[in-house]
């Protein structure tokens, strides 16, 4: 049985021979197999050196004539395959479009082509100008295009500043039915500083305690973004009701701080407990190690004693 590995080595040698490497170079690559490879490579070289046989021209002509004669007899017998009917190729969309363009008058044809070129060119120009720098003309082009877009497109109304909010305006009236705070007002934020300010008021006079406790700023959602809005005095009662009924969540900054402190304490406790457990484990391991060493020492002593006894016995014998 010939090993497969040798087949591969021989094939590699033949490939090297194809590339034009000399026999000595090839054998040097596989010095251990050189004795086996050399005669085979010589045979391959001899085979390669053989001239290609050239057929005679008359024989070539005669062979072709025989072939054509056979074809003629086969055609008489009708033994060839019958050719399939050739189907016309399907018309592509582009071809159809070009065809319809050709049917137009030259003026319309030119106008259509100009429109296509303008739109395509405009699209690519705008795409390229999006990354233009401020000084670049492309940037100016893109900026002006954006301005035109702003003029043409209707954007949703931006949130008004706190002072301009209708809640704080003098002609603001509470609705007859209480508003649904669960939808509009997502949360109430108790602002301790704001409360202190309100205690004294902006002009310095004292504010009644009832109002003091009930002045809040609350988070409202404008276009998906949370904005802090101060509650109007007229809304305080409604907000109280909403709070009592649990329609809104109160976010107290003080509560948040307390929670954070508690979490920190808990985390410290956990770390301390883990450290204690780790110390316990280390101590136990050290004790076990000491036990093992003591036992080993005892066993060694026993063995030495037994060996001494045996030696003494042998000496006596």
């Amino acid at each position: 049985m010939i090993p497969r590995r040798f087949d591969r080595i021989l094939d590699d040698c033949l490939l090297r021979m194809d590339r034009g490497e000399s026999l000595m170079d090839i054998l040097a690559v596989y010095p251990t197999q050189a004795e086996k490879i050399k005669p085979l490579l010589l045979v391959a070289m001899l085979s390669r050196a053989l001239p290609q046989p050239v057929p005679g021209y008359t024989a070539l002509r005669e062979g072709k004539n025989q072939l054509l004669a056979e074809m003629a007899s086969m055609q008489a017998e009708d033994s060839f395959l019958k050719p399939k009917p050739v189907q016309p190729p399907r018309e592509r969309v582009v071809d159809r479009w070009i065809g319809s363009l050709k049917s137009l008058q030259p003026v319309y044809r030119f106008a259509t082509l100009a429109l296509v070129v303008f739109l395509t060119g405009g699209f690519f120009t705008l795409s390229a100008s999006a990354s233009g720098l401020a000084d670049n003309i492309m940037h100016t082009l893109y900026y002006s295009f954006e301005q035109v877009g702003d003029l043409l497109l209707v954007k949703p109304a931006a949130p008004k500043p706190v002072g301009e909010n209708p809640i704080f305006s003098s002609d603001y009236h509470l609705p007859d039915s209480p508003p649904d705070y669960s939808g509009g007002y997502k949360s109430l934020r108790v602002d301790q500083d704001q409360k202190d300010k309100n205690k004294t008021g902006q002009s310095g006079e004292q504010v009644p305690a009832q109002i003091q406790t009930r002045v809040y700023s609350f988070a409202e959602k404008y276009n998906g973004e949370e904005v802090l809005v101060e509650a109007a005095e007229e809304e305080v009662e409604l907000l109280d009701d909403a709070l009592d009924e649990g329609q809104v969540d109160v976010i107290d900054d003080n509560d948040q701080e307390k929670e954070e402190k508690q979490e920190e304490k808990e985390a410290e406790k956990v770390i301390k407990e883990e450290e204690k457990e780790a110390e316990k484990v280390i101590k136990e391991e050290e004790k076990e190690a000491e036990k093992v060493t003591k036992e080993d020492e005892k066993e060694d002593k026993k063995e030495t004693k037994e060996e001494e006894k045996d030696e003494k016995k042998e000496a006596k014998e």
């Binding site: 010939i2 497969r4 040798f6 087949d7 591969r8 021989l10 094939d11 033949l14 194809d18 005669p39 085979l40 045979v43 391959a44 001899l46 085979s47 390669r48 050196a49 053989l50 001239p51 290609q52 046989p53 057929p55 005679g56 024989a59 070539l60 005669e62 062979g63 072709k64 025989q66 072939l67 054509l68 056979e70 074809m71 086969m74 055609q75 033994s79 060839f80 395959l81 019958k82 050719p83």
Partner: protein, 174 residues
């Protein structure tokens, strides 16, 4: 098999003379070379080559197996033809006639030795020697022609070279 050859074959299958002539001109030399080293005689190789293409055109309407190449199919036809015409081969009978009347056994050239030696190989070994070394085809080409794996081709070429080496030593000693 590329698209052009498929189209050419289809045209020949439907009786197109030009397509059949193109196939003949494209593959004649390959078949002739193979037959020349198989039968070791020029006139016999020419005669057999013509017959191979007659057989080819007869069988062509049934050639639908595109897993093997057309050339591989032609080689199979040529091999079958030689087996039919020369079923019992005796190499000793051919040597003197092959080398020509003027040459005696002492003035054998390397080519003549090769011609004589290759007759001692079996059909598979001959095919490998002719395709790989005489025609200079690559292992990948041989994989397509013989429909065998790379390992099988590597093993076969080793075996063929070994057999040819033994046969050459034998012929040189004679």
């Amino acid at each position: 098999m590329d698209i052009n050859e498929k189209a050419l074959l289809y045209r020949a299958q439907t009786g197109d003379r030009r397509a059949a002539e193109t196939l003949y001109e494209r593959y004649y030399l390959d078949i002739y070379t193979y037959l020349y080293y198989r039968v070791s005689d020029e006139s016999t190789a020419e005669q057999f080559s013509a017959e191979v293409f007659v057989h080819m055109i007869r069988k062509l309407p049934q050639f639908t197996n595109h897993k093997i190449t057309f050339l591989s199919w032609l080689y199979d036809i040529a091999g079958d033809l030689v087996d039919q015409k020369q079923p019992t081969y005796q190499p000793e009978l051919f040597s003197a006639a092959m080398l020509g009347s003027d040459q005696d056994s002492e003035s054998k050239t390397a080519n003549d030795c090769f011609k004589l030696a290759i007759r001692h190989l079996n059909d598979q070994e001959k095919r490998i020697i002719v395709h790989r070394f005489v025609e200079g085809r690559s292992v990948k080409d041989l994989m397509k022609i013989t429909n065998k794996s790379e390992r099988a081709i590597q093993s076969l070429q080793h075996q063929a070279l070994k057999s040819l080496q033994i046969a050459l030593e034998r012929e040189e000693s004679l």
